[in-house]
Amino acid sequence: MQNRIDQLFASKKKDILNIYCTAGFPELNSTLTVMKALQDSGADIIELGMPFSDPLADGPVIQDSSTRALKNGMSLHKLFEQLEGFRKEIHVPVILMGYLNPVLQYGVEAFLKKCAETGIDGLILPDLPMAEYEQDYKAIFEQYNLDLIFLVTPETSDARIRKIDSLSRGFIYAVSSSSTTGKDKDMGNQEAYFARLKSLQLNNPVLIGFGIKDKATFDAAAAHANGAIIGTAFIKALEGSTDIVATVKSFVASIREGKTLAEKTI
């Protein structure tokens, strides 16, 4: 059965913009405001972070946003309360990203059921290993028609990428360099890695993430894949914001319209 992620990739192959925001950040009740503004500004996918006390794969900016969200009172139960009925207003695909421990405490099956009922389309759980997924959880994900999006990195072997491709649904999250989120690593020498990904002719679409922060880096990444993912740069923009909606709009415009302007000058 096609879900919103499949439908998106069926209708749009290029320049897909996935933006990450932490639920409950900057304010406890700003979650839906941010999501709605992202959709209205032209983001194609919303990746909503479930805050965790010990986010191993994240750099300081996203971790601080998590810490703040937790201080604001965010929890999985609270998040599902906030998301109640959100599909009346938000129609773009929404993915929950987070770490396995809070999901285990909620109960994996109960969590996935709740995701499906609420209108979530997929999950990114970076610390869920493939073997455990395949053995314990794959059937439940499929039962609820939820995509699990796996990460690949420049260090991931071809054989492993193929295995990941066979288990993934929705898209593959290609991490641009071996790093935590928000690191300013040079993307210039990633050409060979992106070319390798392309040559593998994977079944799933590919979005590139980590280190994407502006129009130039978005364009560079999007040229090699179906689109790209922005997290840290967006959280930074939200951090000092006094008008969330305006901040979101100008941020997305800086990625999208910056590009249109550039094209016009050619």
């Binding site: 010990d54 421990n101 610390d127 290993p129 260090e155 991931t156 790093s179 690191k183």
Partner: protein
């Protein structure tokens, strides 16, 4: 030496998938997968190599000062009505058992062609032990330490710097051991090729719990030989050790896990009391979850957020427990007790007066439970005295009875 002994038939050692019962595994993000995979593929082969074992043994003997004595504590024995032996890990170079593991891991790192070492530390003992072996091998050393701990443990920070290490403050989260470990893991993600992470305890992703336990298993290997000399038998009636993450305990139990007549006693930090809200007794207060890429028993909220523990002893101040120990707890193979801050302090004073040994605050937790064991005069007890108490003098002095 038996560090590479085949444990595949054991119920209590790691299985081929990296689990101890339902605990363990390697819940690492993909960015860390190649690092952990490389270790997993190679550690047993390296440990089995006679050349590696010879080098490890030589350094343990001539640099660390092993074997550490198994000391018959006569006055302590008289007090508790049993034959009590102390395994004197406090007499090792750098003053604790931690050096056994750092020697093993730095030799492994060299074989894997790594040039840079990172580590986490709480009180600074593992950081000092890591900085020490890095100086010995001429390798770059970066130690992550919580901002709060850096303030509390100034002498160990100075030691690490004197040994040439860079000490990086972990300023995220609660700014203690748990966050220092997160930062070390993040460093490893960002430096996957040239860096080896010397994890200090028998926790973290597979193969660390087994690898660290094997490097520490020299403790139980020596106990067997030494007890045979003292008592004419290899197996004690009781083995007692304190547990934070559980590396000294894993080393103490290692060769006795499948000997059912040896009773295994683990002592966790009760803090100000189990139900005080200030405790680090992970088996009593925790439930199954994932911390530092390992599925184990850990202290957490209903929402799955990891809780900051409390113990007077920085080395036991960890919200989780190594997966081997979680399994020993769940199967009933180990008996898990907890000692409060006050009980540990009292036991520390007592050992000082009875035997002239000032124990580390961690080891004092193990000593504190001698009174709760149902000991008979003929019982042979071996207790791992994991470290010396010099680093805890301030704590002892602050709490000294007037």
């Amino acid at each position: 030496m038996d560090i590479a002994i085949d444990t595949s038939k054991s119920r209590y050692h790691v299985d081929k998938n990296g689990y101890y019962g339902r605990f363990g595994g390697a819940y690492v993000p993909e960015m860390l997968y190649p690092n952990v995979e490389e270790l997993e593929q190679q550690y047993m082969e390296v440990l089995r190599d006679p050349g590696f074992q010879a080098e490890f043994e030589d350094l343990l003997k001539n640099y660390v000062g092993r074997p550490s004595p198994l000391y018959y504590a006569k006055r302590l024995s008289a007090k508790y009505g049993a034959k009590i032996y102390l395994k004197r890990e406090d007499l090792n170079h750098t003053g604790a058992h931690k050096i056994n593991n750092t020697i093993g891991q730095i030799l492994l790192a060299k074989r894997l062609g790594k040039s840079r070492i990172i580590a986490e530390t709480g009180a600074g003992q593992h950081g000092v032990a890591t900085a020490t072996v890095c100086a010995l091998m001429g390798m770059e050393c970066v130690v992550y330490m919580g901002e709060v701990d850096i303030e509390r443990q100034a002498p160990n920070v100075a030691r690490m710097k004197m040994l040439g290490a860079t000490v990086v403050p972990a300023s995220s989260g609660s700014k203690t051991l748990k966050d220092a470990t997160n930062e070390a893991i993040r460093d490893w993600i960002n430096n996957p090729v040239n860096t080896h992470y010397i994890l200090g305890t028998a926790a973290g992703p597979h193969p660390y719990p087994d690898m660290v336990a094997r490097f520490q298993s020299v403790i139980s290997e020596e106990i067997k030989k030494q007890l045979l000399e003292h008592e004419g038998r290899e197996h004690p009636d009781y083995l007692v050790a304190c547990i934070g993450g559980g590396s000294n305990a894993a080393g103490t139990y290692f060769h006795f896990l499948d000997v059912p007549e040896v009773k295994i006693i683990a002592v966790e930090a009760g803090g100000k009391g189990i139900h005080s809200g200030y405790s680090a007794a992970s088996t009593k207060l925790g439930n199954i979850g994932i911390i530092h890429a390992c599925k184990t028993l850990l202290m957490q909220t209903e929402d799955g957020q990891i809780v900051e523990p409390h113990s007077i002893s920085a080395g036991l101040d960890y919200p989780g427990i190594g997966p081997m120990h979680a399994h020993l707890y769940e199967t009933g193979r180990g008996v898990f007790l907890d000692a409060t801050d006050d009980e540990a302090l009292a036991a520390g004073y007592e050992l000082s007066l009875l035997e002239g040994i000032i124990p580390a605050m961690e080891s004092a937790h193990a000593l504190a439970k001698l009174k709760d064991l149902d000991l008979k005069p003929e019982d042979v007890v071996v207790l791992c005295l994991s470290g010396r108490g010099d680093k805890d003098l301030n704590t002892y002095i602050t709490h000294m009875k007037k």
